[in-house]
């Protein structure tokens, strides 16, 4: 069982933004879904999933890529050719 407090904590970890009015609905839904996921407890072994992947390598040669102008075109705010982001510290 997860509580409303747990859901609030997960929302904080995921930077998802949650308001008090939504907590009850999300908590009820989470518990129903997590109850369903409990069926996985019956899965035997810990084989994991074999991805059958191989490393794909290429020569370290520069290739054409996005121009700075194109890369910045969709940004909300830019400054001196950089993305402008909220302060981190």
């Amino acid at each position: 069982m997860v509580s409303e407090r747990d859901v609030e904590h997960i929302a904080e970890l995921a930077d998802i933004g949650i308001i008090k009015d939504e907590l009850d609905e999300f908590t009820v839904q989470f518990n129903k879904i997590l109850d369903y996921f409990d069926i996985l407890d019956a899965v035997e072994g810990n084989s994991g999933y074999e991805q059958e992947l191989n490393n794909v390598l290429r020569e370290d040669v520069a290739r054409p890529s996005l121009s700075q102008e194109d890369a910045l075109k969709n940004a909300g705010e830019t400054e001196d050719g950089f993305f402008k982001a909220p302060r981190v510290m």
Binding site: I16, Y36, F37, V43, N46, G76, E77, A85, R87
Partner: protein, 433 residues
């Protein structure tokens, strides 16, 4: 020489399109002048692309997805971008940030999802063909609900470069059209190796459908007709399987015990992948901007709280929870073991049979608003998710109607035997037209 253009101004009362291109250019090639609609999570240079999300409102990609470059090179006319569940998260197209698409066959019902706009655009005749993407049934479900053909190719056969990712290990771009022949034609254009997708494999698709299925072994797992499958839908699908038998196929009933875990394995895997994939939507590089005067977490939470829909936020939180300290072993690790069991079941069965068949969806198209409870919506994906977990090709083709709404027959094949899946579907189609 000036490029050729055609005029495209559909009467889109069902909200199939998020963006239309009124005068698309086209060139010469195998798709010369053919109108193709593109699901809105596939990047199109210079054409607004939102993935059905408000967090990408106004985003204009600076490059084309590989599949879009291939379509243009073969002369296709890109008609527009189709509506979808936000980032592909849904089974109805009701989770779009831009309103639902209606089923063109009954506007009180959903078209299925998440590629609902693509299926509706084809089914209503607005375009000849469309691209969808399929993470857990998102091509096959709307194909079934709208009465068209949709193929989820083998994982690795079609490049995902330029696809706005939600669950990378599960999703493939694939073709949708009215007939198997048209679907195959579109597949021929989009399949092939692309070095920009590291999971892309050198297996081009050069194939003309063949309806001779004499001696083909078709497995029918009991579990595909289990609880939750509408008996009328089941009857329709069995009739279709009998048609294949009359055309020379051998029907083999079998078991697929891992079906018990498949849906939970799928939802744990896709929500975990979503929780890390969607971290990039931060309002800094694209989409509606954040308030840069606020602190990072405050600004980020505010933007994501406003611009992500509820289903997206639910899946990000579920994935974050399942990957959080102390729960990894219980959810993600177990889901991966279950995923391996699903794959083992397919490979065991493919030693006895060539393809597997059953219903695409347990029911006909839902009424609008019918699947308001998330878990009940998830449960409706039970028959489509196994193919994504195992990476095998799977097609949905129309096979009769129930209450006037189409039913989909699903055929799944061995990895990289998309051709066999197409041929089996073609044999059915040719037998009933």
């Amino acid at each position: 020489m000036a490029p050729s253009r055609l005029s495209f101004s559909p009467d889109d009362r069902i909200n199939a399109f998020l963006t239309t291109c009124p005068e698309p250019e086209y060139g010469t090639g195998s798709l010369e002048g053919v109108t193709v609609a593109i699901k809105d999570n596939i990047s199109t240079k210079g054409i607004r692309t939102t993935a059905g999300s408000r967090i990408l409102e106004g985003y204009i990609p600076p490059y084309d997805a590989h599949v879009v470059s291939l379509l243009i090179a073969e002369g296709a006319a890109i008609a527009g971008k189709t509506n979808m569940d936000e980032f592909g998260m849904g089974t109805t197209t009701e989770n779009s940030g831009y309103g639902p698409t209606l089923n063109p066959l009954d506007t009180g019902r959903v078209p299925g999802g998440s590629s609902g706009g693509s299926a509706a655009a084809v089914a209503s005749g607005m375009v000849r063909m469309a691209l969808g993407s399929d993470t857990g049934g998102s091509i096959r479900c709307p194909a079934a609900f709208c009465g068209i053909v949709g193929l989820k190719p083998t994982y690795g056969r079609v490049s995902r470069y330029g696809l706005i990712a939600y669950a990378n290990s599960l999703e493939q771009i694939g073709p949708m059209a009215m007939t198997v022949g048209e679907t195959s034609r579109l597949m021929q254009v989009i399949a092939g190796h692309d070095p920009r997708d590291t999971t892309s494999i050198e297996k081009p698709y050069c194939h003309t459908p063949d309806n001779n299925i004499q001696g083909r072994r078709i497995g029918v797992p009991e579990e595909f007709f289990g609880a939750g499958v509408d008996p009328a839908v089941a009857a329709s699908v069995w009739e279709a399987i009998e048609v294949l038998e009359k055309k020379g196929a051998e029907i083999v009933t079998c078991r697929m015990p891992s079906m018990e875990y498949a849906l939970a394995a799928y939802y744990v895997t896709c929500t975990c992948e979503a929780s890390s994939n969607l971290a990039r939507f931060d309002g800094v590089r694209y989409g509606p901007p954040v308030d840069t005067k606020k602190s990072w977490h405050e600004a980020f939470q505010e933007r994501r709280g406003i611009s992500f829909g509820k289903e997206v936020r639910r899946r990000i939180m579920l994935g974050t929870f399942a990957l959080s300290s102390g729960y990894y072993g219980k959810y993600y690790a177990k889901a991966q073991s279950a995923r391996q069991q699903v794959k083992n079941d397919f490979m065991r069965l493919y030693k006895q049979v060539d393809v597997l068949a059953g219903p695409t969806m347990p029911t006909i198209a839902f009424r609008l608003g019918e699947k308001a409870d998330p878990l009940s919506m998830y449960l409706s994906d039970i028959l489509t998710v196994p193919a994504n977990l195992a990476g095998v090709p799977a097609i949905s083709i129309p096979c009769g109607t129930v209450e006037g709404m189409p039913v989909g027959l699903q055929i799944m094949g061995r990895p990289f035997e998309d051709e066999v899946v197409i041929d089996t579907a073609y044999a059915y189609e040719q037998a009933v037209v």
